[in-house]
Symmetry: C3
Subunit: 263 residues, 3 copies
């Protein structure tokens, strides 16, 4: 027997209200056998960059056929489209505001539709403020039941999808400049620099006026000391052993960071 | 094959301790096939009004037969009763302190019992401080296994159940006065005023000295501007586009709010 | 049909990033039928004492065969071992840093292995910073699929496992000195004193200069008043009815506490 279909949820709804539980109830009404996994609901309200990052980094670790629902949706109730995008690995369901553009930058979609077929919504007259409950969760549950993407609405050009840009990596003489993509709960600063961007050893990183030694793991430096290493997501990270680089360096998403050969 | 029975959990236990996980372990010991959905566990300790609100607004979105367990229980270990209430749509399990009275105000129960039959508890000698683990989770798991409500204890009169009152809606000349029922994580103020309470268009809302324009969705006003709209729960909400009405207006649950024809 | 295997997760990863969701995705890739229950992910970063306490108190409430994965891992990427320990009731999977030593103090293990067999990891070249994703989640999923513990690595002596010590209980004349093991989200102070340590009634507890009356439940004292009672975990707890003993007494884990006959 095939395992039950898997749906992931990512929102900025927080966990102090029942909004996420309500989406799961709606899914259970339509497709009781679907399994649901939470990616996160504790993003700052309307933080699309954090949503993009978390989707991008979680995406490779789910089984083929997984349906990813993402609802960070400052434009809810306006003319912005709701979409489903089919990829080689699964389905993406959410608003067309760039939330999936991290995934799609390296794993192009196969097909996409604009969610116009109200038969697959919870109601033909959805609320103007909670499309997670009224449109996206029901659509995901119907996909989990086997409804084909083509039934859900009108086909769209994938190149018409909104893209959420992050600063490009730039070569500057013998230095490479990237930027902080994400600050995680440990205060690690995850950049957009990959191993391919690094000069040959020995190298060092620079954040503002701070110069950081390269390392393999946190324990390579003394407790409280900062370091630069290739982190678990495959990008250069700035960390403090047993501490928070975000606090230490007053860092934030978008801040520039350089790597260069060691003096 | 029938889908596995569904149990929802709502508590004020927070998520930094394993209390909620322990309740799920107890359920899994008794009814391994039950599926569990969290409504919320991040209510402020002993915030019965928030519990009442979240149960009320989540309740319609779950499949028939769902068992809702709610444990916000300042009187745990005292003489307050534990109860199960059968409704047309499912079962409610928790303390008799008014936590379900929002649901029951519009969807009266069919039958109720006081939880006195210790055979369906985790142990005949429960702790005095954690009935969620020792009584309510086991009772819900036995209901999920098919134990009839009548086996769980003595029948009670439904009208004997504790009611948690909220301020009534009052007509005052050409104005209608309601109150804030709930502040959600986005800082939206959800009132107890329904579309039926509104005067014909154009109308406006008033909160303290602030007059708020009516709108259809957040995007109808400029970023940072306040508005009044019928929200996803079906009640009048006061919001700030891209911001928090709770912070802007120093609002709190119980605050009065008026709607009236526009000047 | 046997119920699906049960895996619990306890980490200090928080819920603002997708780290926990990623571990669940990895488990679903390997063993789709496994059910996963969260114990907690909101421990303070690297708080091994809180991890030890939560595992210890949750452990008895899960079905036989449950696989408990715990990842609070300040030494990730260094030479510390990853281990699986088989107990009479289930399996423990995590770093060898004492995280399971609360459980093992009273329920000795049956067998243990050091995780050296890379075939059961997500990849033969795991990251140096996220063994939860690359080693512990995959190993747990393989255990859930039926892989025997002996296949996962080299056997180890159970007495070689790291132990996380907490202060011993000491008799001092007619007083007994224990200590605070844990502060929970309600501000209850859970000590390491059991009913066997208590003098016969009447007795009282002392925390710093504060003397606290014994009680059976919170409601035995007036709102805002402190009390000492045997809590739901089976240990002496210091609480404030409707308040936080942690805040009232500026308490912290490790603080000494005495019980003695009442004046």
């Amino acid at each position: 027997m095939a395992p039950a279909p898997l749906i992931t949820l990512l929102t900025d709804f927080g966990t102090q209200d029942a909004y996420v539980g309500i989406m799961k109830g709606v899914i259970a009404q339509i497709c009781p056998q679907a399994r649901v996994i939470d990616l996160t609901h504790d993003l700052s309200p309307q933080d699309l960059l954090a949503a993009r990052f978390n989707l991008l980094t979680a995406y490779p670790y789910f089984p083929a056929g997984t349906i990813h629902v993402a609802v960070v949706d400052p434009g809810v109730g306006t003319a912005r489209r709701g979409v489903v995008i089919q990829t080689e690995e699964g389905m993406l369901v959410g608003p067309d505001n760039g939330i999936f553009s991290g995934i799609l930058a390296t794993r192009p979609g196969i097909a996409g539709v604009s969610l116009t077929q109200t038969d697959y919504w919870r109601t033909g007259r959805p609320s103007t403020t909670f499309h997670g409950r009224d449109i996206f969760a029901p659509v995901a549950a119907h996909l989990a039941k086997g409804v084909p993407i083509s039934a859900l609405g009108d086909p769209i050009e994938l190149k018409s999808l909104t893209v959420l840009e992050i600063p490009a990596v730039v070569q500057e003489g013998d230095r490479v400049r990237g930027s902080v993509q994400h600050c995680d709960r440990f205060g690690n600063l995850i950049t957009n620099l990959t191993p391919e961007h690094l000069p040959s050893e020995p190298w060092q990183a620079q954040l503002g006026e701070h110069v950081l030694p390269s390392a393999q793991t946190y324990g390579d430096v003394l407790p409280g000391q900062p370091l630069a290493l290739i982190g678990s997501h495959g990008w250069l990270e700035i960390s403090v052993n047993g501490g928070s680089a975000e606090q230490r360096f007053q860092a934030r998403v978008g801040m520039p960071i350089w790597v260069q050969p060691r003096g």
